[in-house]
Amino acid sequence: MSATTKTRTAAEGRTPSTPAQASTAARLLGDRRLPVLVTAALFLAMYIGGLSRYQNYGFGEPQVFLNLFIDNGYLLVAAVGATFVIMSGGIDLSVGSLIGFTTMFTAWLVERQGLPLMLVIPLALGVGAFGGFLMGYVIHNFEIQPFIVTLAGLFLFRGLCLVISKESISIGDSTVSSMAQTRVSLGLGELSIGAIVALVVLAAAFYILHYTRFGRRVYAIGGNEQSALLMGLPLGGTKIAVYTVSGFCSALAGLLFMLYIQSGDPLHAVGMELDAIAAVVIGGTLLTGGSGYVLGTLFGVLVLGLIKSIIQFEGTLSSWWTKIATGVLLCAFILIQRAMTARRKT
């Protein structure tokens, strides 16, 4: 309670005394879009900061911006899947290992078994979606915590990678390499197929979450499971579907990652679930579920990607600063979220 009053006085103290402006500030603080706006502003500020610092090194070129999508397309897809799960109030820890498994699975089928890529892609997506479905089924029907079930999923898929092969399989298939090298020109710069797929997935997720019945159900369940059940929403079906979507997105992210890196490795994408969850949180989705925007996730991914490229441009900074910066950002955004939810309760 005391924290709430403090934020209010602080907000009023900052804004000039006219009541209209004070209420604008209050409305802004209570606005659910605030975290997304803050993330977008942060992204802009970082981009402008990078622009002024590394202008002579070509930071200002549009291609640097487009590279954010090319280099983080897989993360974007995985984070979109994680957004669905987190929005519904759950959590999916199996993202990273499912990505690793998909790279391994496709590499093995294409290289060792000689199957055509066009057959392998739907197969891999199907396996991913089925894995998600199974986890959702267990979570809902046996009422085991999502944390534990997806943790078992993490072990299972990472283990299956190792069962396929302990060594990495590089992919020399001509279809894969030609797909990986295809660039679509946008006038200012170019995008890879992976980046375009990621943007399509983002658009689809945006439509589904905001304009379909399923999306509403996801929000409702995340907001309050009990009320959603009492309203007659199909709780189990939606929950299972959410995990299926996450599994599908993870598998798709795995395919994009495979395209990006052109190999399958049992150690690919270790810990990527943390990146995905961090991107979702930085993007302003509440971890308790029920509130957030998939566009925020886009900005979350872009911010994480920008940290990586700034560290690359800086040159002298070591890779572990990425982790530290991610942690600090995560902390800042969690505190912002906290201030917001405390405010909304009053």
Partner: protein, 366 residues
């Protein structure tokens, strides 16, 4: 005539109802699986004044996990979770080893103690930060501890400068790899920590307070329990346990690896706690169960090696065991699978819930 027939099942039921029944049963089953493959599995022999044997090595290699899991139990009992323990393990090991490696005489006792002190203080500070975020700021525990989980590994790498620091210190080696009174020294450390924890939680009111905070933090605050202080204490204790485990791991290998030390130990620890029968919802805990849970996980790893399952299937095996154990512990699963038998025996109030809950599920699965 009929009396023994009645009492035997009721005794059996009392036994199966005991909260440690399933964990112990799984542990014994796992241990017995080893016997056909290694007939002398339970043998313990004396070499050079040290005890050797599979059982000793299970406890030895399992001791960091037991420590972390015991700390985690208390955190989970308050309804929280601590994902940062792996990072805390790495930070503690990194700080201690980098301090020792800067010493002129790495065998000097004072330097080693100081180094360990620094490491443990850093661990407790991490715990204080987690506790502050959870208790004062009211942030969800999963998220609050995620911060240190992500940033902590970076910090550990920063301390070791991205290198693996190797040290050569006899006294430090004792904690994780040394022997004392024919037994590995780490067993004594674990025993001491577990004994202190059990004494503090079961012989004082502390355990009750922890459970009441986990049951309902707001209600316990209204009753007059300082629930925030309890929460902060619990996170600090968990980090301290993780710190000791970090000392053990780095001492066992005589090296600090910011990247890999304690990797995934938080997941193993949470599993150990769950297998031990502590509910993730909080409000109830069992230190004994957690110790058994941690031993189950370590035995599982050892079993995978001894029965000759290819090591790459280790994780798949683990996943399957986790799922089976969790399913066995899920009341819903038991009601469904053993429902036919259970329904006849179970008391009346349990009955209506089972079909009612099962009905919507059937629609769902279609």
């Amino acid at each position: 005539m009929s009396t023994p027939a009645v009492t035997t099942p009721s005794r059996w039921r009392a036994l199966t109802r005991h909260h440690l029944f399933w964990p112990v049963a799984v542990l014994i089953a796992l241990l017995l699986v080893n016997v056909p493959f290694t007939p002398d599995f339970f043998a313990i022999r004396m070499t050079d004044g040290h005890l050797y044997g599979s059982l000793v090595s299970i406890v030895l290699f399992g001791s960091p996990l037991i420590l972390v899991a015991v700390g985690m139990t208390l955190v989970i009992a308050t309804g929280g979770i601590d994902l940062s323990v792996g990072a805390v393990v790495a930070i503690t090991g990194a700080l201690t080893c980098s301090y020792i490696s800067d010493q002129a005489d790495q065998n000097a006792l004072a330097g080693v103690f100081l180094a360990m002190g620094i490491g443990l203080v850093a661990a407790v500070v991490c715990g204080l930060w987690n506790g502050f975020l959870v208790a004062r700021m009211g942030i969800q525990p999963i998220i609050a501890t995620l911060i240190i989980m992500v940033a902590g590994r970076g910090v550990a790498q920063l301390i070791t400068d991205g290198q693996i620091i190797t040290i050569n210190s006899e006294p430090y080696k004792l904690i994780g790899g040394g022997y004392w009174l024919t037994l590995p020294f780490s067993i004594f450390v674990v025993a001491a920590v577990v004994a202190v924890t059990v004494a503090l939680t079961r012989r004082t009111a502390l355990g009750l307070l922890v459970e009441s905070v986990g049951g309902n933090a707001e209600a316990s605050r209204l009753v007059g329990i300082r629930s925030r202080r309890i929460k902060i204490m619990v996170y600090m204790f968990c980090a301290l346990c993780a710190g000791i485990a970090g000392l053990m791991i780095s001492s066992n290998t005589s090296a600090a690896d910011g990247n890999n030390a304690g990797l995934w130990i938080e997941l193993d620890a949470i599993l150990a706690v769950v297998i031990g029968g502590t509910s993730l919802l909080g409000g109830r805990f069992s230190i004994g169960g957690t110790v058994i849970g941690a031993l189950v996980i370590q035995t599982l790893t050892t079993t995978i090696y001894t029965i000759g399952v290819p090591t790459q299937t280790n994780l798949v095996f683990k996943a399957v065991v986790v799922i089976v154990v969790c399913l066995l512990q899920s009341p819903k699963f038991r009601a469904k699978v053993f429902g036919a038998k259970g329904r006849a025996r179970t008391t009346a109030p349990a009955e209506p819930t089972t079909p009612a809950d099962a009905a919507p599920k059937m629609e769902v699965s279609r």
